[in-house]
Symmetry: C2
């Protein structure tokens, strides 16, 4: 659970409960990705009561219970889904299995909160959309690189205040450290993880839709490569894409598994928001070369001046409290269902359309 | 001639003459763009003897002679081209006229050094290639954002040393301040300036070819827009493109005219070089938010560590001395002719293929 391990990166913020104990009961089911820790942290800090944990692997359950002693190991997934107390199930299953689990959760008349990417195919998306329609339940997604990242949240606040005018382009860099020996087998099988544009690319597309206020977009170019990891033939170590939104704004993003060992954190994630009246740069996890261990740097220049904000610990993560309220009140303040699905749709399309590139040798 | 005016940005370095006075005689012809100052600075610091200046506008000539009192105003372009002493003609004509001038210079059996973009159409490129073939003279190009930018030069040295392994992607941001009232009319006529991808995009493509060692590339997507300047309908205030090189490396670049007034310099130009063993970020003209007026920041992370280099005044501009030697010795150490033309070809193609995008209203 350290900053140097992207797989288990689990931000902690100031607890800001929106409900009293027992008012909003959740369970954690499927612990295949370490993101489940961040997801549960966020919900618990916002007041959720974590009642159950279930995974077929007892070692994963034991580790989880160390971090969350309040969670009781459940005997089965069914036991969790059959408990009428449970209002929401948080999950970080193998990516290709996230939809099937979500369908079971919705069928049990509970809300679903899954790690991203929430699904890996357009068929799954159609099933998920139908299940939401039928159940009126939520199929929400942990797009952590925005909702659980204070600098990204703060950038959204600046945009909403009109600080840089209308956002015309969003550029994102999502480098990650591979740390291959720490990864499970499914991480290297494309049918399971969904491809790099679907997996870590989903963060990027979600941010694009969010910062530009777009409702839809077209993937106009996407590319994938395995430039330098022949031992993992189904790994895509590089991907990038350009999108044009329905409102005319455009995006470029690059994702990769090339964070070098010498970098002081797992990835130098950046966002650049270009507006008609200024721009914002977000340095999410490191201000490279500063060697001070700080994160959450936001830079802005607009008509009035040039600014540097350090916002770690100052902004919090409003998504989680909003999500709990949304579940209780059947509202959509944290994120609309359509937004969550649209980002998923576009990342699957980016992956499907991707040209494969690579170095000659 | 201040840092805040990109149009007349003219870097000064430590003089490092490679020839004695009179050994390499140059003239400045066509002063339509302020880059001519940087071009002549670079050559004079490397030892060139600036003998003549010519432009049909006496005001431009008078201003030039203030900066370079050694230059004699010539009566005509012909007078310069007829002088057997002159070995190279440096020019910053209106972009669409640069090729025609170059053809006259080469026909006069002199080398040509033009501001970028060196031409605006594939027809001009064919003429330029033919003229070089026939004359054995050089049609060299002032791709200033690399050759006259110490951080960019230093990044090239790091790459050559293998500090980040093989370069698999180059990403470039080339924002510029518009400062529309200071610009001449031709700046807003597309047939004259060539479009944003041809104009300031040419820097980006040159850097891509240079840092990756590629010899050719395909423009796989390019876009242009006039997002926010309806008063200048032929201005493209935004452009971006993706290219894939013959060696499998890839590029994304964005260029725009949206530098806000509050930024402390004319543009927050960046390059990101992603290698198989690390990456480099170049912050060329400003380290935003530092408010210290410094430029030429290079950041690198590789297997060994995380580094921040401040290289202003420490690297110099080897291109100019190499170009003089190349002219004297008929070598190609500063830049090959094919490299200069290939960057020009690709920026014209990027512009020709560009999809027009824009905001709805």
């Amino acid at each position: 659970m350290s900053l140097s391990d992207g797989m288990n990166y689990a931000p902690k913020g100031k607890p800001a409960p929106v409900v009293s104990p027992g008012e909003f009961v959740i369970a954690a089911v499927a612990l295949d990705h370490g993101h489940i820790y961040g997801m549960c942290n966020g919900l618990v800090e916002a007041g959720a009561t974590l009642k159950w944990v279930y995974d077929p692997d007892p070692a994963k359950v034991a580790a989880f219970c160390k971090a969350f002693p309040q969670a009781q190991p459940a005997a089965s997934e069914e036991a969790v889904l059959d408990d009428p107390d449970v209002q929401l199930v948080a999950s970080a299953a193998i990516t290709s299995l996230r939809c099937a689990l979500g369908l079971r959760v919705l069928a049990a008349d509970k809300d679903y909160f899954t790690d991203k990417a929430p699904l890996t195919t357009l068929e799954q998306l159609a099933q998920a959309r139908a299940a939401v329609q039928q159940s009126s339940r939520k199929y929400m997604v942990y797009y952590a690189e925005r909702i659980h990242q204070e600098a990204a949240v703060f950038a959204g606040q600046l945009v909403k205040q009109g600080a840089i005018g209308r956002v015309i382009q969003v550029m994102g860099l999502g480098p990650h450290r591979l740390n291959a020996p720490s990864r499970p087998d499914w991480f290297f099988k494309k049918s399971l993880y969904g491809g790099i544009l679907c997996d870590i690319g989903s963060h990027q597309i979600e941010q694009f839709l969010y910062y530009t206020g777009a409702h839809d977009a077209t993937v106009v170019r996407s590319q994938i490569a395995n430039y330098n990891h022949p031992a993992y033939p189904e790994l895509e170590d590089f991907g990038d894409a350009m999108l044009v939104a329905d409102n005319g704004a455009t995006q470029y993003f690059r994702v990769d598994w090339f964070t070098p060992d010498g970098l002081s954190t797992w990835g130098d994630g950046r966002s650049f928001l270009l507006g008609t009246k200024g721009y914002i740069e977000v340095r999410k996890y490191v201000n490279p070369g500063s060697h001070d261990g700080s994160s959450d740097h936001v830079f802005m220049a607009n008509q009035a001046g040039e600014y540097h904000y350090e916002v770690a610990g100052k902004v919090g993560y409003p998504f989680f409290g909003q999500l709990i309220q949304d579940c209780l009140n059947r509202t959509e303040t944290a994120m609309t269902q359509e937004h969550a699905f649209k980002a998923a749709e576009l990342c699957v399309k980016a992956e499907m359309q991707a040209a494969r590139i690579g170095l000659d040798s």
